[in-house]
């Protein structure tokens, strides 16, 4: 919290005189959700969070993506405003009588309401050697840093535990290049989710990926090598498994030690006992998340933990929300295998389908009269999960054996109105159908807003899309088969939920693995929201080839290079550098319509060397390859021109530097003319500025190209500062709400209420979002970095700029040039000359 925020919070407190002090112990996902739910609902007291980890709360569910290149900042949740968060602060005791908690440094922090959100600790069996260097848990970013460090030398790695987390850890070790083993006590993998048959199919999948699975095996000891580090794991039968890295993932235990220490009721097998309002045996203390024993059990999944946090927040705010337990059904992909389980994991009768060749196992449990569905298990194909989960506890809609083949679309199965579609928020199909009809809903976002279905884990979102389609709604907004949303809706999801990876977005809000339509859209959204270099971590794999290589692909597979020349102004020295680079690399050279210079014919492996020469001379990327700002063209303006009334060059340069690198639904072009003669052709641009005697006229939504359109006058005679603010908002509003590949001209025409509406939103702030739009643009401007330079400085990013992985220096033999008008020109290989 900033000093001013702190002051204003104190002022509020004094003025209203009723603010209470809430102290939260633990700063994980549950604590974060609680704090968000408090501050977002007008809580007027003070909130202090004390967390033991050295960083604010982050998305633990996505922890593994950290090893794939996401940074701690990527995983961090946005910090809620007006909250004092103290990291690296462990609480060691609670003084219930004095209503204070004591930290490790001996400081006492007073509370009126205390919330325990301490989560759980990995269970490490007390066998000899389990604390040797080289033995790790798998729960925090620090754990992963340590594992990554230890895995640097390669070698064998062992995961103890073959449950959900264990398999995730095993995948991580494999990703770090270790020869990975999994040791599981039970006779199969995922003993809590699947039965023997499912376990066998899963095992086949996993062994095919090169992992070694030891079931029915525990750990007797971990033995050290001569260097004193873990060297092997010994199973109870005496067999040893070589292991440089040992990860314990053998279950978790609720961290209830603070509660025990101050005499709160705890469960027999651990967990702080709470009532349905998440209150412990002391009415001033709540417990939420994995440390709480709620509705008879300790929940180890994020969904229920977050629901509990919301209930506690509501109670603190004076509400009466309750937590009545949650469904533990799971559907996920582990090591590339779909696994799903819903309802009961046993029953009087069962129907099984198994295809060991395809690696598919499906089983349904039914009542002894074979009429009621009790539960199911799927491995390798989880399609029945969506269609059949709503039938748990009710009459089967068809013969069990047919149901096993029910397609992903639930074809031919008529689901009853009282079947749950969203179990996180208890929403039935009937409720969704009624909402669609009553409110004339046309998209998933509407359904979510109206019913809350799909707003928590998101796994029912595809089902919501299908229900819209069934109701006769044209879901043409769907981006592609992977997302039932249009671009604007996806933008909101990413923004509001703070999603920072494609993996998480598609897992929670889509299906499948994405494609050339949705991946670049998501890449652009992530970039618009300021998520770092576009070639980092997982983002790299989302980019179109142009963005991927920061250059434009040409018909023979070579690329063009376009340095930025802001406003079209260039010194003779720099012009000479461009000429020299073009000459030295033998590039075809042409002046573009946007007042800059295009260098064509570069091979992938030449790009870094070309950029290096340009960057050293002070150039940067011109983003000619991106759906981003291209150029701000200008005339010479009042400095030289007899007619000019304003300095159009200076403004064009300022605008180009302000918006450079800004990712948008489509490319953005701009121009500034120094007088009404309009030599810069500003009215054919997405945003164009024309000088007047008194300031600037701003035109928006112009276009050249395929469907030319003259830009509309949005505001006249603006001073520069106001002009810039309006452009900021125009661009951000466009970026938030336009469809994929929709230029500003088409967007403006599709905007309900057109130009008038645009004025209401960005001039009069009718939606109350202008402050947000301004802040978002400020973040963009502050976060800008040249993508070429950043690539040159990072060996990891440079790695992909090779022609062939096995012959990095060899030029692609298929690329040939001939000469025309003294420059190169591609020789195209005739199509029929290449045999398949």
């Amino acid at each position: 919290m900033s000093a001013t925020e702190e002051r204003s919070a104190t002022r509020r407190h004094v003025r209203e005189g009723c603010g209470r002090r809430v102290v939260v112990v633990g700063y994980g996902p549950a604590a974060h959700r609680l704090v968000e739910a408090l501050t977002g609902n007008g809580f007027d007291g003070t909130v202090t969070v004390l967390g033991e980890e050295p960083r604010p709360a982050y998305d633990r569910v996505a922890l593994t993506s950290y090893l794939a290149g996401r940074t701690a900042e990527d995983l961090a949740y946005p910090a809620p405003a007006g909250v004092t968060a103290r990291v690296g602060t462990r609480v060691t005791a609670i003084d219930r009588e004095g209503r204070t908690v004591v930290t490790a440094s001996g400081e006492a922090v007073p509370y009126d309401v205390l919330v325990l959100a301490t989560g759980s600790a990995p269970f490490v069996p007390a066998v000899p050697g389990s604390d040797l260097p080289g033995c790790f848990a798998y729960r925090t970013i620090d754990d992963l840093d340590a594992i990554r460090e230890a895995a640097r030398g390669g070698g064998p790695g062992v995961v103890v535990g073959g449950g959900l987390l264990g398999l995730e850890a095993a995948d991580a070790l494999r990703g770090l290049g270790l020869d990975t083993h999994v040791v599981e006590m039970s006779d199969r993998l995922l003993p809590r989710q699947v039965d023997e048959g499912g376990g066998a199919v899963l095992r086949n999948h996993i062994e095919a990926l090169g992992l070694t699975v030891h079931t029915g095996a525990g750990v007797r000891a971990v033995e050290a090598g001569p260097d004193g580090r873990a060297a092997r794991l010994v199973k109870p039968d005496g067999e040893a498994v070589e292991a440089r890295v040992v990860v314990f993932s053998a279950g978790v235990r609720p961290r209830d030690e603070l509660a025990r220490g101050c005499g709160l009721a705890v469960g027999e097998r651990g967990g702080v006992v709470v009532d349905s309002g998440m209150r412990t045996s002391d009415p001033h203390i709540y417990a939420v998340g994995e440390c709480a024993l709620a509705a008879g059990m300790v929940y180890g999944l994020a969904g229920p933990c977050l629901a509990q946090a919301e209930v506690a927040a509501d109670r603190i705010l004076g509400g009466a929300a309750t937590f009545e337990g949650a469904d533990l059904s799971t559907r996920l992909k582990l090591l590339g295998v779909e696994v799903a389980q819903f309802g009961a994991t046993s029953g009087a009768l069962d129907v099984t389908y198994m295809d060991p060749v395809a690696g598919v196992y499906k089983k349904l449990f039914v009542s002894d009269d074979a009429r009621t569905l009790l539960g199911g298990i799927c491995v390798g194909d989880a399609a029945p999960y969506d269609t059949l989960r709503p039938f748990v506890g009710r009459d089967l809609p068809g013969a069990p054996s047919d149901l096993l083949f029910a397609g992903a679309g639930g074809d031919g199965i008529d689901l009853p109105d009282d079947a749950l579609v969203c179990s996180c928020n208890n929403v039935t199909r009937g409720r969704v159908r009624a909402a669609i009809a009553e409110h004339g809903l046309t998209d998933v976002r509407g359904v979510k807003e109206c019913t809350r279905a799909g707003t928590t884990c998101g796994s029912c979102v595809p089902a919501l899309g299908r229900m819209l389609a069934e109701s006769g709604v044209d879901t043409g907004r769907a981006l592609c088969e992977h997302f039932a949303y249009g671009r604007a809706e996806l933008f909101d999801i990413v923004r509001v939920r703070g999603i920072m990876t494609f993996s998480r977005l598609i897992a929670e809000h889509g299906t499948g693995r994405g494609c050339d339509v949705c991946k670049p859209v998501v890449a652009s959204i992530l970039a618009s929201l300021g998520n770092g270099h576009i070639l980092d971590g997982e983002q790299a794999a989302l980019q179109d080839t142009n963005d991927h290589f920061l250059a434009n692909i040409q018909k023979n597979g070579t690329y063009s290079v376009v340095p930025r020349i802001p406003g079209g102004e260039i010194t003779p020295e720099r012009l000479i550098v461009i000429g020299e680079v073009a000459r030295d690399f033998g590039l075809y050279t042409k002046i573009t319509g946007g007042q800059r210079i295009d260098l064509l014919g570069a091979r992938v492996e030449q790009l870094p060397a070309i950029w290096k020469r340009l960057v050293d001379a002070g150039f940067e990327s011109g983003h000619a390859y991106g759906k981003a700002l291209r150029t701000v063209k200008s005339c010479v303006g009042s400095t030289w021109c007899r007619y000019g009334v304003q300095d159009s060059v200076a403004l064009a340069i300022a605008l180009e530097l302000r918006y450079r690198g800004l990712r948008a639904p489509h490319k953005l072009k701009s121009a500034v003319s120094g007088c009404a003669r309009e030599c810069a052709e500003a009215r054919s641009k997405d945003f164009g500025v024309i000088a007047t005697e008194r300031g600037w006229n701003l035109y928006v939504g112009g276009n050249g190209g395929f469907t030319p359109r003259h830009a509309d006058l949005l505001a006249a005679d603006l001073p520069t500062e106001e002009l810039v603010r309006l452009i900021d908002r125009f661009l951000m509003f466009y970026i938030r709400t336009a469809d994929r590949l929709q230029r500003t001209s088409a967007w403006l025409e599709s905007l309900d209420g057109g130009l008038g509406r645009l004025r209401e939103v960005i001039v009069e702030d009718s939606l109350g979002i202008c402050a947000d739009l301004d802040a978002q643009m400020e973040r963009h401007v502050a976060g800008y970095a040249d993508e070429w330079r950043a690539t040159l400085e990072d060996p990891e990013r440079l790695r992909r700029f090779v022609g062939f992985v096995n012959a990095p220096g060899t030029p692609d033999p298929s690329i040939e040039f001939e000469t025309e008008r003294d420059q190169i020109k591609p020789v195209l290989i005739p199509l029929e000359a290449v045999s398949r």
């Binding site: 020869d179 088969e481 991946k519 060899t810």
Partner: protein, 124 residues
Amino acid sequence: MSVLQQSPAAAAGERAWTPVCRYADLSPDRGAAALVGRRQIALFRTFDGRLYAIGNRDPYSGAYVMARGIVGSRGQEPTVASPMHKQVFSLASGVSLDDPATAVPTYPVRVVDGTVEVGLDRAA
């Protein structure tokens, strides 16, 4: 550990396995080109760790660019889209999913001790 993943054998006949790179050199859901003899091969490592090898030449444009396409899925099929004009091909069969008459060749690929190997018929 030895063989990690092996595609089903294609045609009979003798096959030469050529090591091309380390498994770790490949990024998830992205391709890389390799030069084996005179042949250009596009290698892909998908999100689930599987490997695929197809011809690097885009049959629609004639350019050797398939390795630079976007990887994804259509239904259950793992796919790559040509970076030139976005035609989508199955990584498993090489067939164009929009135009089954067009296909790129596929090659067997395996990992031996962390090294990716591509199999080509000796005659090739």
